[in-house]
């Protein structure tokens, strides 16, 4: 840009700023891109996911008991509380846990780094009331992340499962407008279910923007003491990462639950 054009542009910008305020026109370099992802606190997994789990969408964590899905979800809640859209503001975001099996341990929640003053724990009745609470929490626009623990409890009866499947498109729409991420914990289908004439709905896999499968690999011991475990996160579906990629995650639970990406 030649000198004259630059001068005229500066003059125009100055005029606009005088009339409408300093922030009316800013250089593109000054604009911070709004965070559309939430870090998992596991750098290797973040790298595969393109920065973290997507905001405004459904994320599904699937795995057996002690595969690390709950810890991973708690670490994301902690990360979401402290991640501020404008990094200069130190305010904490609120998160919620829909604790359907009433088994949340506040001690473990606190040790995962979640600020308890900004945590709402909802324990509704399983089935339809729980789905209504889920929708109302999302629609409230007060929460940054909502954790549903867990999907099998929510779909405890066929009527509730059908109701949930019907509401999934609506739920996705609400999440987009509310700026809220929904994390759903699921368990793999038990083998004996194959022998029953029951089919599990696959609608959730369609509407989830991210689907990660977790599997425990080995326990971590040190000096004869159990220190934690190493798990493997395999991306099944992702809009940013390539499906099939695997990231090892190590979880140490001593005084505070720590996340380690390398071993």
């Amino acid at each position: 840009m030649d000198h004259t054009k630059r001068k005229r542009l500066d003059l125009a910008v100055t005029r606009l700023q005088r009339r409408w305020g300093n922030r009316v026109v800013v250089s593109a370099r000054e604009v911070q891109p709004e965070t559309r992802v939430i870090s998992t606190r596991f750098p290797e997994l973040d790298h595969l996911l393109g920065g973290g789990i997507p905001l405004n969408a459904i994320t599904l964590f699937n795995g057996q008991t002690t595969s690390g899905k709950l810890t991973l979800a708690y670490k994301i809640l902690s990360s979401a509380q402290h991640a501020s859209a404008t990094s200069r503001l130190p305010c904490l975001h609120s998160v919620a846990i829909l604790d359907l099996n009433a088994a949340s341990d506040p001690d473990y929640v606190a040790r995962c780094g979640i600020d308890l003053d900004h945590l709402l724990l909802a324990r509704p009745q399983a089935g339809k009331p729980a789905i209504d609470v889920l929708l109302d929490l999302v629609r409230s626009r007060q929460l940054r992340v909502l954790l549903l623990d867990s999907l099998p409890d929510l779909r405890s009866d066929p009527a509730a499962a059908r109701y949930f499947d019907q509401l999934l498109p609506q739920l996705s729409m609400f999440l987009k407008s509310a700026g809220c991420a929904l994390i759903i914990l699921d368990e793999p289908q038990p083998p004996w279910l194959e022998w029953l004439p029951v089919t599990r709905s696959s609608a959730i896999y369609h509407y989830a923007a991210l689907h990660v499968e977790l599997r425990r690999e080995r326990w971590i011991e040190s000096e004869g003491e159990l220190r934690g475990y190493q798990a493997q996160a395999r991306i099944v579906k992702s809009q940013r990462g390539r499906p099939g990629q695997v990231a090892p995650i190590a979880i140490e639970f001593n005084e505070t639950v720590r996340a380690r990406d390398t071993w």
């Binding site: 606190a110 308890l116 709402l120 324990r123 109302d136």
Partner: protein
């Protein structure tokens, strides 16, 4: 001084809901004899219904509001039982308003350690009398105002004891609306940016006296923690009765009303300066043909505002059947009492106004008390499950 304040939140509403359980959780307003709102449930208050509104105003603010007449006799009976239970221990008890009473503990306990078991026992007795749904909240301090503030801060079924050394720290952040000042004075203070008792206490005393008069000066002393009012079991001595003779006798409503108000203006004003109001009022009317009529006006709460007295007296004069022209009117203030802070409920709501609590409160109305927040109770307890406690975030009864 050692004063205990025993307060049953939403006493009138609780009694009404006990009689009609289907009203629980719904917006409810109780009307007095003049069809003005005398008590509103927390749900109705959230929709903007306030005490002294007309029934129509309440319906406009909250179309779903249930309106019911206050059963004064039943409530009075429960109130007497409530005060009687507190008086069982032989200490002086003063009833402030419905479900609020002060107990003078000066003779038996003066420190938090000695007061605690007495308070716990009294709380248990009141709960036994009124049931779990009307659990009292207790507050203790050396003065009436701080004791009442402490009881407002305590949740139902809990007590809050404020030691003398902590008074200033406790009072400073509390809202100015805790003081029973007239609404105009509260508005003026808010416009001046004075919103807490600490800010009000720091104002120069002379400036407060010039602007808000004797009542303001007294309120500032209370805000500074200097509240030396004693707990008196009997009603305060009321001023002498005033007689007005009509010559010629009149059958018109307006001159009688104006005469009654002019007789009441001076005593009401002097009561207002002491932050007190009229609780019971008697009008003796003597007619030319020799017959007499007596009108007893009982206010739900002590009042000092002329407009409220005018509305009540006017209503009573209109519904009275006049046998002849009126010859003499005699006005007597039968009972006076401490003014009630008009916006005490607002103060309570402001205490916990985080968005998360507000969200839980809204959802609780639909889904019940199923929303919690873990709170650290004992950081060093060896058992992890005992270190934390799940506290319900939104109990509508405590607002």
């Amino acid at each position: 001084m050692s004063v205990l304040c025993c307060r049953v939140p939403d006493f009138l509403i609780g009694l009404a809901e006990r009689q009609e359980p289907k009203w629980m959780g719904r917006p409810l307003a109780l009307l007095d004899a003049n069809e003005r709102v005398s008590a509103a449930s927390p749900e109705a208050r959230l929709s903007g219904v306030a005490v002294q509104m007309s029934a129509r105003q309440a319906q406009m603010r909250c179309p779903d509001v249930l309106l019911s007449l206050l059963d004064t006799a039943a409530c009075q009976q429960k109130q007497s039982a409530f005060v009687g239970t507190l008086a069982e221990c032989g200490l002086p008890v003063e009833a402030q308003t419905w479900g609020v009473a002060y107990v003078d503990l000066r003779e038996v306990a003066r420190t938090g350690r000695t007061v605690q078991p007495i308070c716990a026992e009294m709380g248990k007795q009141v709960r036994r009398l009124l049931g779990d749904t009307l659990a009292p909240s207790l507050g203790w301090d050396t003065g009436k105002l701080i004791a009442r503030a402490a009881s407002s801060c305590a949740r139902p079924g809990h007590m809050r004891l404020v030691e003398h050394s902590d008074e200033e720290r406790f009072l400073n952040p509390l809202s100015i609306t805790l003081l029973p000042l007239p609404e105009l004075a509260l508005q003026q203070l808010t416009w001046l940016g004075i919103t807490t008792l600490g800010q009000f206490a720091r104002l120069p005393a002379t400036a407060v006296w010039q602007r808000f008069g004797q009542a303001g000066k007294l309120a500032q002393q209370w805000a500074r923690g200097r509240d030396d009012r004693s707990v008196s079991p009997t009603a305060t001595m009321a001023p002498q009765p005033v007689s007005v003779d009509f010559d010629p006798p009149t059958a018109l409503h307006t001159p009688v009303l104006e005469a009654a108000l002019s007789a009441l203006r001076s005593p009401l004003s002097s009561l207002a300066h002491q932050l007190q109001g009229c609780r019971r009022l008697r009008l003796d009317l003597r007619f030319v043909e020799g017959s007499t009529r007596v009108i007893d006006c009982t206010f739900v709460e002590p009042v000092s505002e002329e407009s409220r007295v005018r509305a009540t007296v006017s209503h009573q004069l209109q519904i009275l059947e006049w046998p002849a022209e009126l010859e003499t009117l005699r006005v007597t203030l039968l009972e006076t009492g401490e003014l009630v802070a008009r916006q005490l409920t607002l103060f309570e709501i402001e205490e916990e106004s985080s968005p998360l609590v507000e969200l839980a409160r809204q959802l609780s109305r639909r889904y019940g008390e199923r929303f919690f927040q873990p709170r650290l109770v004992d950081e060093r307890h060896p058992l992890p499950e005992r270190r934390f406690l799940f506290s319900a975030l939104a109990s509508c009864s405590t607002v």
